[in-house]
Symmetry: C2
Subunit: 332 residues, 2 copies
């Protein structure tokens, strides 16, 4: 691999001259510039980005840390981020936090390998983030609140979204509403649960401990929870699943058992994943503004890099998408 040294010596100039020429610095005469560029072409010279990053202490790269990388759920979020990073002439690289302490994500946070980071990965802990965030390395957190310098918070109004969903179920006349829960250590799940309880309370429905089922945010979890409900031979009116995947798992279990969804039981999910529209019956759910979230996150990073830290947490609103799984539009 040819380096700038090779270029310089082929062109018969000093290394710095070559550097200036390659960076089109006006102090270099056109003649010399041409000579250097010709040498670079001839050697197929490619600047070593790592060396440049080291010297300039800047990578022109934003990192996106996801707990999974392979999750289909992030599609829109990534689009939003990409729109903004590209517009700012920055690169975006996505890394996974799988592997805990040894994950690529942790490495990227600890060593300053990007100029900013967007985190949506519950298995990255607060301490690490607080440590990593610096003036020249803002961190945007999308999955939990964290009040610390150089850390920016953007969140979806999970509580309000859940409230809307449950209110919708109540307005359809349902009284006994199961909460199909995600993992307890998930902040999103917690907030959705709070919204659920507030909606019950505001409608004078007493929450019963029997209404809480664990589904772990997975399709399998939802499936098994529904199986348990079926075994108890006492089906509830309605289910509010803390995410769509669990809702879809539950739908599957009910369908197998001959329970008619939308009639015998109403189900609402959360997230509005792509599948929600296609599952049968289609799933009523709470849509998160993922693309806006992504764009916002990237925007916040660039503002921060320009010295403007917007410290108040940003709360994005959700939207209730009514489909067939609550029966309200069954005959559509």
């Amino acid at each position: 691999m040819a380096t700038i040294k090779d270029v310089a010596s082929l062109a018969g100039v000093a290394i710095s001259t070559a550097s200036y020429a390659l960076n089109n610095n006006p102090r270099i005469s056109n003649e010399t510039k041409e000579k250097v560029l010709a040498a670079a072409r001839q050697l197929n010279y490619q600047p070593n980005g790592i060396a440049r990053d080291l010297k300039s202490n800047k990578t022109n790269t934003i990192g996106l840390i996801l707990s999974d990388l392979s999750g289909p759920f992030y599609s829109e979020l990534i689009k939003g981020i990409q729109d903004v990073t590209i517009a700012n002439g920055y690169d975006l690289i996505a890394v996974s936090s799988i592997g805990g302490k040894n994950s690529t994500a942790v490495k990227f946070l600890k060593e300053k390998r990007t100029d900013g980071v967007i985190v949506l990965a519950h298995n990255i802990d607060n301490k690490l983030i607080i440590n990593a965030a610096r003036k020249d390395m803002p961190v945007v957190l999308l999955d939990r609140p964290l009040d610390s310098e150089y850390v920016l918070n953007i969140q979806v109004d999970n509580e309000g979204g859940a409230y809307k969903a449950v209110e919708h179920l109540i307005s359809l006349g349902h009284n006994e509403i199961i909460y199909l829960s995600g993992p307890n250590n998930s902040y999103d799940n917690l907030k959705r649960f709070e919204g659920y309880k507030r909606a019950l309370k505001d409608n004078k429905i007493n929450f019963s401990g029997r209404w809480l089922y664990q589904g772990n945010f997975t399709k399998e979890g939802g499936y098994h929870a529904a199986k348990v409900m079926l075994l108890q031979n006492d089906l509830p009116d309605a289910i509010f699943a803390a995410n769509d995947e669990m809702a879809i798992g539950a739908i599957e279990a009910f369908k197998q058992a001959g329970v008619e969804i939308g009639k015998d039981i109403a189900i609402v999910g959360f997230d509005d994943i792509q599948l929600a529209e296609y599952v049968n019956p289609s799933l009523t759910t709470v849509k998160q503004p993922m693309r806006e979230m992504g764009a916002m996150a990237a925007q916040q990073i660039f503002q921060a890099l320009n010295g403007n830290f917007f410290t108040e947490p940003i709360l994005l609103q959700t939207e209730l998408i009514i489909r067939e799984s609550c029966g309200s539009r069954k005959g559509k």
Copy 2:
């Protein structure tokens, strides 16, 4: 940010000693080692990965280049790659080739920012890949064949998969089989088209130019193609769509028009995306072994990094997944 220099001076040792101590080199006495580590802890020292990469000329990172990053389709592929990279103690970072010449992907290929690259992005051109591939930078190509040094080829048997799909349609008694095509510059599409034609030929069916519809690999494309078929008032027996998204788009159009899929018309897709199972009727399709492909790709990289370049292209077999959209299991 504390550097190794700070650590060394706080510990009262030379920089090289600090470096050795931090890397747990046995030649340093435990006493000194402890002193250095204590200093590092106190300063919250984090090694600068960029400097290390520069010095060692190694990044311990594999890059995955995708044309979209946000495509849900890659989920399994990424899992496969990740399994292997993690097992080898390497990091995986995903970058997008959106933006053409200025994309992050191109930057990563040109400047040696990873120790190896896996490419699944049709908008990265051969020349660039040939240029980037080196002994210490193997490139695995997943979306086209390319015979060049240090370039490894892994492909799915698109031709054979298409053959199976069309043969299936023919075995169900269909004679007039539309090819719903992807973009012409897609190698995958080309191969699928070849498989389609071979199946027709082997079954003594003459291909007619009228059977070719353009769908561009998108749902919208499939939808519109189906609309056109409907307008012509002369529905074919069956459709072989070169990918699932187009098939799903077509299904939508037919459903809207009251055409019963599986009875009035049979449809087969390609890819077996997650939706295929959930769409109604569920879609018969050709499954690609994406996870195996990912694992294989990563494995090839590591073998290459160890000096073993396996030059023959690898061809992975597909599997026909029979669901409801051809009617064969309508009453399931």
